[in-house]
Each structure stands twice: as C-alpha cells, then as structure tokens.
C-alpha cells in the first residue's frame, strides 16, 4: 500500500510539474509563478506608485494572486485521470480513492506552494512591503495554501466530467476560499497571530475533509 501511494505521489508530482501534455519540463510550475509575479508587477501601474497605498494593499494583492495561481491547474488535477481509467485501475487494486485524493492534494500543494512562497519575496519587494509584513505574508501562505490545495483538488473531483467543468470549478473555488483569504489577509491588517491561527484552522478542516468529499464525488461519477 505504502509502495503504491509513493508511486502515485511521485507520478502526480511529476505530472503537475511537467505541466500540460506537450509542455516543456517545468512549465507546469513556472506558469502559475510567472502569472503571480506578473500580477505583482502590474498592480503598481494600475493603482499608482504611492508607497503607503501599495504597502497597505500589497499583502492582499499577494493573497489574491496566490488564490488565482492555485486555481490555474484545476482542469488537469483529476479529470484526465478519470478519463484515462487510472481511478478505475486503482480501485481494482484496492487503493481507496481517499488515499489517491490525499496524495493528489499533497502533490498539488508541493507543486505550487513552495515556489509561490519564494516568489512572494520579490513580489513583496515590488509592492513595498516591510519586513514584518513580509513575515506575516509568508506565515499566512504557509498556513493557508494547504487549504487552497485541498479545496482545488476537491472541487476538481466534483466537477470532473461535467461540461464546462473547468470554468465551473474556478467559480466554485473562489467563494469557498473566502475564509482562508479573510483570515490570511486579515492577519496583515492587524489580525496578527490570531488571524494566522484561524487561517491555519480553516486550512486544516479543508485538508481533513477534502479526501472524503473528493473520493465520494469520484465514486458517484462512475
């Protein structure tokens, strides 16, 4: 079982890092990160270069960009593997869908969160965030991104096989991500440690529930 789960995690990670079927190696991770940095670069052009204004809203911008970066690969998180028959083959081998989904959440998180947290540093610099604020952003991303990953995989499993599922998945994730966003960005606006703790709590609940919800959705869709 452990051997099978490790093989699945390895494959998931390689697939997510590789990106699309025809993409160059690494394009899977590079694209959301470039997107994230592009948002941080373009934002000061849009609102003007006032450093106080930028410092006040910069943390929030980073959070919104993080959410969008987590949503980008939604359409290839679950559906291609259902269509190709992978989930059926795992079920025949007695590997529960819950485990497969849990591995996928971990792989999805690994594929975007660490790179995002690195990219947040130059992004924070561009937005003129101070050192203390930057620390809050990083801790907040660490607390919140597992929840975003779980949410993404869960919604991808629920919408797999639906017509226009990818667009629907994005629409479903955004309202459900609001608590993470409120507490994560709220920690910057004076919520401090309690904001971080609540962000982490929401995140943990999502990580705990998503494997069961996602597995149920896959079984119901057979």
């Amino acid at each position: 079982m452990t051997r099978a789960l490790l093989a699945i995690l390895r494959r998931d990670l390689a697939r997510l890092l590789r990106g699309s079927h025809h993409g160059a190696p690494g394009s899977g991770v590079a694209l959301p990160i470039l997107f994230f940095l592009a948002v941080a670069i373009i934002f000061p052009f849009a609102v003007g270069p006032d450093p106080r204004l930028l410092a006040r809203v910069g943390g929030g911008v980073i959070w919104v960009a993080a959410l969008l970066a987590a949503i980008l690969p939604l359409d290839r998180l679950v559906e291609p593997d259902i269509e190709a028959g992978f989930f059926d083959q795992w079920a025949l081998r007695g590997i529960a869908e819950e485990w497969v989904i849990a591995m996928r959440i971990l792989a999805h998180w690994l594929s975007f969160a660490p790179a995002l947290m690195l990219a947040a540093m130059p992004a924070g610099g561009l937005l003129g965030l101070g050192g203390a604020q930057m620390g809050m952003v990083e801790w907040g991303l660490l607390a919140g991104t597992p929840g975003l990953a779980a949410l993404g995989v869960m919604v991808a499993a629920i919408t797999a096989g639906l017509k226009g599922g990818a667009a629907l998945a994005g629409l479903l994730v955004i309202p459900l991500a609001v608590p993470i966003l409120i507490f994560g960005a709220g920690a910057l606006a004076g919520g401090g440690a309690s904001g971080l703790a609540l962000c982490g709590a929401v995140s943990l609940v999502l990580v705990a529930l998503a494997p069961f919800a996602g597995a149920g959705a896959i079984r119901a869709g057979r």
Binding site: R3, R11, R15, A84, D88
Partner: protein, 202 residues
C-alpha cells in the same frame, strides 16, 4: 473438483428508467473462461464493471440486491489503457510495475520491445491495446475481465489474446471476455445478453 472463483447472484442493472439486465446469476470455476456477447448497449460493459466492483448492482424489483463474490484479485482491461500519454511507454508501464510489484513483463511476446522509448500518445490503437495487456499481465491477478480486447488488434494480436487467456486459464485463472468478433476461449462457454423488451424486465 470444482473450485468456485466467482459466484454472482441476482445481478440487476438499471440505467435511467431502463433495465439492462435483471436477475442474472453467474458462476465461474477456477480455470474457466466465459465469452460475453450481445448487441451494442445490451449491458456487457456494465456487467463487467459491476463484476469489477466499479458499479454497484441496482436494487431489483423484488428480493435482495445482488451479490458478487470473487476468489482472488481482479484485473480489468477496457478501451482506456490507463497509461500516461506524455511518457515513453517504458516509463508509463513502470508506474504500474511499481504499484503491482511486477518483475518481468512479456514485452517481446506482446511486440512492445522496440516501442519502449516511444511516447504513448504516438502508439497506434492496437499498440496501446498491447501495452494495456502488458499492464494487465503485470498485475498478476487471478481473474481477468476483458472488455472488447480484440478491438484494434491485428490477426496476430487476436491469436495472442487467445493464447494469453488459454495460458491464464490453464494456470487456474479465470477470464470473462466481451467481444463481437468470434474468439476462441478454453471451454467455449458463452453468455448472450439480449436487449429486454422495452420497459419490461427479463
């Protein structure tokens, strides 16, 4: 001495408001093969997926919901090879090899030896089917469920499947094979699923 490998009772399948089959009993002993025939849409694939545990039996009009009991593990081959299209065939097969703990796959016999470096998406339909067969054999399961395994295979490929099934059954395995084409299976047992009269249960 008979050694039951599969005992299935009172299987029913309802899709929407249509019964595909109703009250179907099926038994296979170790070493037996069954050829499942029937027109398109009769429920052959649904029956295979039900036997594989992927589709729950529908509750019948009366009596208990059907039961399925297998001895030993189950492997299934259908129209989806479950191999990563972007990866070279060798790596795509290695994924399942790691999961199944399989050692040697009969790649030469399947005609795949020269294709290991070719990405799966460049393989032809028949080559993908052969690759899926390699995956199936590597699983080393006692019971095989083959859904239209002959689709896309050349004459040699059909003979290969017949040989593989015969060998598998000779070693005490079982196989249930759906196919529209004639296929030579050990024992020559076959079951025809007919379309039930509209609205009625058979």
């Amino acid at each position: 001495m008979p050694d039951p490998a599969l005992t299935a009772q009172n299987l029913c399948c309802r899709r929407g408001d249509r019964w595909l089959f109703h009250g179907l009993d099926l038994a296979l002993d170790a070493g037996e093969a069954l050829h499942l025939t029937g027109p398109n849409g009769a429920g052959k694939t649904s029956l295979l997926r039900m036997l594989a545990g992927l589709l729950p039996p529908s509750p019948p009009l009366q009596g208990q919901t059907g039961t399925i009991a297998w001895q030993g593990s189950i492997a299934m081959l259908d129209e989806r090879p479950a191999l990563d299209m972007a990866l070279p065939l060798g790596q795509a097969l290695d994924f399942w090899r790691r999961i199944d703990g399989a050692r040697d796959l009969p790649l030469a016999r399947l005609g795949l030896e020269a294709l290991l470096d070719v990405p799966v998406r460049y393989l032809s339909t028949g080559q993908k089917k052969r690759a899926a067969l390699a995956r199936l054999i590597g699983q080393n399961a006692r019971n095989w469920l083959l859904d239209e395994p002959l689709n896309g295979l050349d004459v040699a490929g059909v003979a290969l499947i017949e040989d593989l099934v015969a060998h598998h059954c000779a070693q005490g395995g079982t196989a249930i094979v759906t196919s529209h084409q004639p296929v030579r299976l050990p024992g020559e047992r076959s079951l025809a699923i007919r379309m039930p009269p509209a609205g009625g249960a058979r």
